[in-house]
């Protein structure tokens, strides 16, 4: 502890010095970020993240800007989808990166508890507080200390619809859940299935549940359920399942959902011969639509936010990538401040593929209306919560054929069995959390 405090003192003084230099040089740039300028010539930083291909190029452009401003050299390495393994390996080898951008809050938590990553400096924290909503800061906080800067976000509260079919049927963008069901009925009357669900695996269904639960029970209960502080037999769960059953048990849903994989459900809506008009999932559906090639995102492939339930406030369930620092070196701290500033995100945003949770980012920079709408839904949401199934033990929330995934499939197949579903979920959760 003593050594730790000492180290922290050094950080603060070092950062203080940097802060002074920075204060002298600020000017220009928008959104209340801080311009990073300091002389870190000769310093070499390493940054690792999952991004490769076009995303890597865009992120490297962000890092190039940092290099240009500070003179430091930044080396970027992509770890693909092996984030936890790669970082553990680097740590065991005694050569951790300066900064890692990771997609799993649980990994950040583990690294923080083990003392592998360092909390944000006061200056970096100031930049974060200025640009991020409290929900995002809380998500980067472990035991009262804020460790991370959320650089990229995913919005999983988007309902995608085929505008051609909505126009043909005369359906409109719904205002709330009841209106949602009515509009789907209008589409069903016109001869198309209201909505297509790919329930062949459980994850799209868990996203349904999470979105409905956040709206029915509110963020506090959402957190409690995530941590299994309340049981799955809680009345709020029953209420949520009833809401879902009002759709899943109706004939608004295209039949055969439990045999359909998720990409097919997108093709059913946006393919060459659409049979359904709506599909729910995250912002990545835009990628599926583009890959299919029969519909154009922004023209006939549009989305609206997951409908409010019982007058709930705008809420978003999503994911994201958080940058964490493995050293308290001033250059590393400067990089963290840079990543937290709107300027960093604004380099990538116009090129597409980045939804920034940073509220300081100018929305007009997004390359098209759809991505702007996704980002605005995310930053203007009163409540943001991380995807629940990513926060629960993987035996419960991330294993095919078991736990959350499987019980939601069972419930999809038999939406009348609310009590049995809750009991099965509670039993699965109890055994997974016990380990």
């Amino acid at each position: 502890m003593n050594a730790n405090r000492q180290r922290r003192a050094i950080v603060i003084s070092a950062v203080g010095a940097v802060g002074l230099t920075l204060a002298g040089c600020s000017g220009g740039g928008g959104g209340g970020g801080s311009d990073i300028e300091g002389d870190f010539a000769g310093e070499e930083l390493t940054v690792v993240a999952a991004w490769s291909g076009a995303e890597q190029e865009n992120f490297e452009a962000v890092l190039d800007e940092f290099e240009a401003q500070t003179g430091a050299t930044v080396r970027y390495t992509s770890f693909g989808d092996n984030g936890p393994t790669y970082i553990q390996g680097q740590l065991e080898g005694g050569d951790p990166p300066s900064v890692a951008v990771i997609g799993q809050p649980a990994l950040m938590q583990e690294l923080a508890t083990n003392g592998d990553i360092v909390p944000l400096s006061d200056e970096a924290l100031d930049v974060v507080t200025e640009n991020y909503s409290q929900d995002w800061i809380d998500l980067a906080t472990v035991d009262g200390e804020t460790y991370g800067v959320w650089f990229k976000a995913a919005n999983k509260s988007t309902v995608w619809y085929n505008a051609d079919l909505y126009d043909e049927a005369g359906a409109t963008v719904p205002e709330d859940w009841d209106d949602f069901l009515e509009q789907l009925q209008v589409i069903t009357d016109a001869g198309y299935a209201g909505i297509s669900i790919g329930a062949d695996v459980g994850w799209p269904l868990t996203d349904w549940f999470e979105n409905a639960y956040l709206r029915v029970a509110g963020p506090e209960k959402y957190d409690q359920l995530t941590n299994h502080e309340i049981p799955w037999t809680d009345p709020s769960v029953a209420e949520t399942l009833e809401v879902l059953a009002s759709l899943w048990g109706s004939d608004l849903v295209q039949p055969g959902g439990d045999q359909r994989d998720f990409p097919t459900s997108v093709t059913e809506v946006f393919g060459a011969e659409p049979n359904a008009a709506t599909v729910f999932e995250g912002d990545f559906v835009a990628g599926n639509i583009t890959a299919d090639g029969n519909s154009v995102v922004g023209e006939n492939a549009l989305f609206y936010d997951f409908p409010a339930i019982n007058g709930s406030a705008p809420s978003v369930v999503g994911g994201g990538d958080v940058a964490v620092a493995f050293s308290d070196d001033p250059a590393v701290d400067a990089l963290m401040q840079f990543l937290a500033s709107p300027e960093a995100a604004e380099i990538w945003v116009p090129n597409g593929g980045l939804t920034s949770p940073n509220q300081g980012v100018d929305p007009s920079l997004y390359p098209d209306d759809v991505s702007r709408q996704i980002a605005e839904a995310l930053t203007s949401a009163e409540t943001f919560r991380f995807d629940m199934s990513d926060l629960t033990p993987s035996a419960f929330g991330g294993t095919q054929g078991q736990g959350f995934w499987q019980e939601m499939i069972r419930f999809y197949q038999n939406p009348t069995d609310i009590q049995g579903t809750m009991e099965a979920l509670e039993a699965a959760a109890a055994s997974a959390y016990a380990g």
Binding site: D167, E168, A169, G170, A171, T172, V186, T188, D189, A190, G191, Y192, A199, D200, V201, G202, G256, D258, Q259, D261, P393, S394, A395, G398, T399, Q400, G401, Q402, W405, Q406, I409, Q413, G435
Partner: protein, 448 residues
């Protein structure tokens, strides 16, 4: 296994006290040691460690005794896996062996036997994974994707006419209801009145070309008239149940007037604007007006082969498709090595072919059949790839087997290597009897 193999009493050189004995022992040990080290490191140690690991909880830090073994049989998921393995062991090896025997005996009598053998053996050349992908494709529910359902739908299509408006339904709250495909009036209608049928669930693009906007009609004495129309305006709007501009008539629909005794008193077919008039009705009667189900029949639908009810059959079928060829080749080689004079003699004595087959060929083939059968049992117990690939997510639990469950628990997200190890030990215990049987048989053959 080692214990069993070492059981027979043999002169044990290590007990010999003289120098020469030691020397011989040292040499033997030197020659054996590479193999022993290898076996120890890659067979014995993993088995022992798995046994130990199976007595600990998921973190590996807490000793739980036999809890994992209890869980194994009480937990729904793992128990289904064990039950499925039992089904597999009962069905698959026997089916493969019998089919292999039939193929081997029958093909032997054919002229092009090598070609036929090659074809039946060919699935063995395909990896289990690829075979799984093929079967998953074959049995897809959607007839546009799955060949099996496409065939079923095509055959059924020959025997039924295409309906004009598949999937259409009544507009709710307009006095008409659907019952088992028949759309009819809720209450009886008297002649001289108009009965309209506002329907929904038909796509604008599926309307026949001759269809025009819905036409209103009037009914004369002894007539029931009305309009069958699509109660949806392209682009929305309008009042539900009303005939308005933009609502299309539905031509070609048969309309029946059904008398209270169930007989059809008269019928008509709708015109371009959906209008119909049923004439010649008894003015003192009232009739139920119905649109027969043949108008709306959705035609043959695919069978949900990959659903929980059929999935085990499909996976086992794919296994048989692959391994029947193996059984056939083994049995055919046994056949060719067989002394044919017995069969010849039996035939000379007037035995029928069936008698020859059951009383002579099969008994002579028994050793080969047992080898095939036991090999298949061991193989079936370990089945993994097909079960991993074929079932879609929703029916995975129904198709689960021990090997897949072991993998899921240990590495596939279950995060419980304790339970995974216990399952591995169960698998080992199940395989042991057939292994011992094989070893015994080898020894007997040697002794002969």
């Amino acid at each position: 296994m080692t214990a069993v193999a070492a059981a027979p009493p043999a002169p044990a050189p290590e007990h010999a006290p003289e120098r020469g004995g030691w020397r011989r022992f040292a040499i033997t040990a030197a020659f054996l040691s590479p193999a022993l080290v290898f076996l120890g490191a890659f067979v014995l140690y993993p088995i022992v460690y798995t046994v130990v690991r199976s007595l600990f909880d998921r973190t590996g830090g807490r000793f739980v005794g036999f809890d994992n073994y209890v869980t194994m049989f009480t937990n729904d998921t793992t128990f289904t896996a064990i039950r499925n393995n039992v089904i597999w062991v009962i069905v698959a090896p026997a089916a493969c062996t019998i089919l292999g025997l039939i193929f081997a005996v029958l093909i032997e009598k054919l002229a092009w036997k090598t070609a036929f053998r090659l074809i039946i053996f060919m699935p063995m050349a395909i990896s289990m994974l690829a075979a799984g992908v093929i079967f998953r494709g074959l049995f897809q529910e959607n007839p546009n994707l799955g060949a099996v359902n496409a065939a079923i739908v095509a055959v059924q299509g020959w025997f039924s006419d295409d309906a004009n408006y598949p999937g259409a339904g009544p507009r709710e709250g307009t006095g008409i209801v659907a019952d088992r495909g028949v759309i009819s009036t809720e209450s009886a209608v008297e002649p001289g009145s108009v009965q309209n049928f506002p329907l929904t669930g038909i796509r604008q693009s599926n309307l026949p070309e001759e269809a025009t906007d819905a036409v209103e009609v009037e009914a004369g004495d002894g007539e029931i008239a009305g309009t069958v129309f699509l109660d949806v305006i392209r682009g929305g709007g309008g009042t539900n149940g009303e005939i308005e501009d933009g609502k299309s008539g539905l031509p070609g629909i048969r309309v029946d007037a059904v008398a209270p005794d169930g007989s059809i008193a008269g019928f008509a077919t709708t015109g371009a604007g959906g209008e119909y008039t049923i004439t010649g009705l008894d003015a003192g009667q009232s009739y139920t007006v119905a649109l027969p189900a043949s108008n709306f029949d959705e035609g043959a639908q695919g069978v949900s082969w990959l659903s929980a009810s059929f999935i085990n059959a499909v996976v086992i079928l794919s296994y048989i498709w692959i391994w029947a060829g193996f059984a056939m080749v083994m049995i055919a080689s046994g056949l060719s090595a067989m002394d044919r004079s017995l069969q010849e003699a039996a035939r000379m004595d007037g035995a029928s072919e069936w008698k020859v087959f059951t009383k002579i060929t099969v008994p002579l083939l028994t050793p080969v059949l047992i080898v095939v059968f036991v090999t298949l049992i061991i193989n079936v117990l370990k089945i993994f790839d097909l079960v991993y690939v074929i079932p879609p997510g929703a029916s995975k639990p129904a198709a689960n087997v021990i090997a897949v469950e072991m993998w899921t628990q240990s590495f596939g997200g279950g995060n419980n290597q304790g339970l995974g190890s216990a399952l591995a030990i169960l698998l080992l215990v199940l395989v042991l009897p057939s292994m011992i049987m094989n070893v015994r048989r080898f020894r007997q053959e040697k002794a002969r």
